[in-house]
């Protein structure tokens, strides 16, 4: 069995909007004589759009109509129709995500971007997606090292640290190439981001809208921004500067970094810094790149140039957001796609089945207070190679734990890590007298606060594509 699915990635960033199509090949790698095991064999980007400037109506509003036109045109150029697309992600990243009409823009795109396409934002997830798209995740796995990727775009710098292919840390800073924007031919400053305004005030540098920006001043500002990056990477003691520039949590810095990689629009000017026509994009991106290339970040850390720079996020969204569930799963009704299902993770030691029901009970009660009982998915680790009695005990605990709250749920959705979902799903369905539809999938590791999207079954109905949306990243 070989099957190839089409995935779309759309990234609407602070400065640029891009689209890629990638083909994901899945294959049953088990022999004819065993229980099937379907895995992703290959991911290939098959179409890349040109890089567009993100159309804005004004500084606070994205031009949804124009974005729609861009995407429609790109579908045509690539020769795909939305119905052919089975998975993917639309991401509104960086500063743009904080624009007022971001969710409205996503809505206007939802029909266009295939049936099972997730719309997502959140700085931690962006960092991870960029790091995967840039190739840093893979590099850290292949080289068995700790590598940090800095995705420096127009509005933000998204940092993800990977160790042997696993994400171990993320952070996001308000540092980017288009936080100061200039009118054509540097005839005057058009826009200064609020954080940069505060930064310059702190430095007693006076820049104002409408006035010309000198290269000298821009260089000093970029150097200060770079200092914040040096601080976050532990190359310089932490100061108030870093506190100010972080959008959320800081890096933990309790590991040593072997390599640094760069992606995002500014990356190209770190790898190839230039003094030539530095305001040609009417922003400070080229100078920021130059400041970083002359900083301790590239001097004291080993720098590695990987495949994707400016397209890292969109490639990550298109090719690296989707996972495949385990190959032995249960769904008693083809109710897919299921979108934006919140995860309730039961923190239970696998051996401790006795208290499982109680734990499920308490998290569900809490959840219902907050959400009013909308559809959720229960996540647990499960037991490796369980005995039948253990399996029954787990199923009983789930049924008992959920109790009357089951009425509020359209389906009973269970997500387990260990390979037991098919047997667990069957057992649950029997216990519920086949009156409640059950979706039980495995091979998926999720955390509390994640959201999950489950797509239409693939591979003769044996697996489902899954996208996990980590909004709050816990390690």
């Amino acid at each position: 069995m070989r099957e190839s699915i089409l995935s779309v990635g759309i990234d609407i960033g602070t400065s640029t909007t891009q689209l890629v199509f990638s083909s994901i090949l899945i294959e049953n790698i088990a022999s004819q004589f065993s229980v099937p095991r379907i895995e992703v064999k290959e991911k290939r980007v098959i179409y890349r759009s040109p890089i567009y400037f993100t159309p804005l109506i004004d500084q606070e509003t994205i031009d949804g109509q124009k974005i729609r036109e861009i995407i429609e045109a790109e579908y045509k150029k690539a020769g795909f129709s939305p119905e052919e697309v089975s998975t993917g992600a639309v991401i509104i990243t960086g500063e743009t995500a904080r624009k007022e009409n971001a969710s409205l823009v996503l809505e206007s795109l939802s029909g266009l971007a295939g049936e099972f396409v997730v719309a997502t934002a959140g700085p931690d997830l962006e960092s991870i997606i960029a790091g995967k798209g840039a190739g840093t995740e893979r590099f850290s796995r292949d080289e068995e090292c700790t590598a940090v990727n800095l995705d420096i775009g127009g509005g933000t710098t998204n940092i993800a640290v990977f160790k042997n292919g696993q994400v171990i840390d993320t952070a996001c800073l308000d540092i980017g190439g288009r936080l100061i924007r200039l009118a054509k031919d540097n005839s005057g400053i058009e826009y200064i981001a609020p954080k940069v305004k505060r930064l310059t005030e702190r430095m007693s540098i006076d820049i104002r809208k409408g006035e010309r920006l000198t290269v000298g001043k821009a260089e000093i500002i970029c150097k200060e921004m770079t200092k914040a990056l040096e601080e976050v990477l532990g190359l310089r003691p932490k100061s108030e500067l870093l506190e100010m520039m972080l959008t959320g949590k800081d890096l933990k810095r309790n590991y040593s970094i072997d390599y640094v990689t760069f992606s995002g629009g500014v990356a190209d000017f770190i790898y190839n810094s230039t003094d030539n026509n530095v305001f040609r994009f009417n922003d400070i991106g080229i100078l920021l790149g130059k400041a970083i290339s002359q900083s301790d970040i590239t001097r004291r850390l080993k720098m590695k140039k990987l495949n994707e720079t400016i397209r890292a996020t969109v490639v990550g969204a298109g090719a690296h957001t989707v996972e495949i569930s385990g190959s032995t799963i249960t769904y008693t009704k083809n109710c897919f796609p299921l979108k934006n299902i919140p995860i309730l993770k039961v923190h239970n030691e696998p051996e401790d089945i006795e208290s499982l029901a109680e734990n499920i009970r308490s998290i569900i009660e809490l959840y219902n207070l907050q959400s009013g009982g909308q559809q959720m998915a229960l996540a647990l680790k499960g037991v490796k190679n369980p005995k039948y009695s253990q399996l029954v005990a787990i199923a009983e605990s789930i049924v008992r734990g959920i109790g009357e709250y089951l009425k509020t749920q359209e389906y009973l959705i269970v997500v387990v890590e260990n390979d037991i979902a098919k047997a667990l799903g069957q057992t649950l369905y029997q216990m519920l007298h086949r009156e409640k539809d059950v979706v039980s999938i495995d091979g998926i590791s999720v955390g509390n606060g994640d959201y999950i999207d489950i797509g239409k079954p693939l591979g003769d109905g044996r697996v489902v594509p899954v996208v996990i949306k980590t909004l709050i990243f816990n390690f």
Binding site: F33, S34, V35, E144, P386, Y388, A423, G425, Q426, R434
Partner: protein
Amino acid sequence: MISEMELKKIIEQVISEMGVSASKTELKSDADNCCTVEGSSKDVDEDIQDITTIDLKKQILVTQPENLQGLLKMKENTPARIGVWRAGPRYKTETMLRFRADHAAAQDAVFTDVSEEIIKKMNLFSVKTKCTDKDQYLTRPDLGRILDDEAVEILKTKCIKSPKVQIYVSDGLSSTAIEANAPEILPVIIQGLKSSGVTVGTPFFLKYGRVPAMDHVSEVLEAEVTCVLIGERPGLVTAESMSAYIAYKAKVGMPEAKRNVVSNIHKGGTPAVEAGAHIVDLIKLMLEKKASGLDLKA
């Protein structure tokens, strides 16, 4: 035939004959030579560690490996005995002993019988093929394919006639595999089928059974689908691997291509309960398509 226990005794004896002090230094220097990754071994039992409890994938015998993580990663990907430090005609003692211990476990799996207690626990009664003992079973495959007359009588009186699905358990070439997996998988399959409204025949245990004995069982009980859970020929990686062979309207002498097999059911392969759930779906598909084996594919 030397069982695992006996082998252990022999090793204990040999080491004690070498003198207690010698054995201690021997063991100690061995321990110095190999770095064992945490969690890979259990407590030392009376000075001698049960070497079969060591997880081979985590055991490093190479002294001062250049890249420990890299070696571990390679070992994680194969059950083969790689990175044993000395290859060729002179393995390290530990490698050699472990090889023999695993070989002994494989032989035990073939030569021991499935314990009566476990058969009783599964609520099964026991019948046998035309073989009279293990030696005959191993040397006369033809006899292992036919039920003896007594078995035919018992099945006719004790079992539901013409069930949709007949499931039974057979020792095959590994009793260990049956003891490890059958009690976990049987209830999953039976419950799964029953809850889908499929009548399941009376399960039983067949001693000295080979796979084609299911054809005879199918004819005697006139089952629509017959499924045997049978021990696989053990190897050095695991002696606990079980298979399920399943056929639609099996007949004596039918081609092998009419059988489906789900193999590699053990804790390192497909977990028993999960395989059971898969088998439920497979049997339901057979009933729906009225076919099995290659005919099911077409």
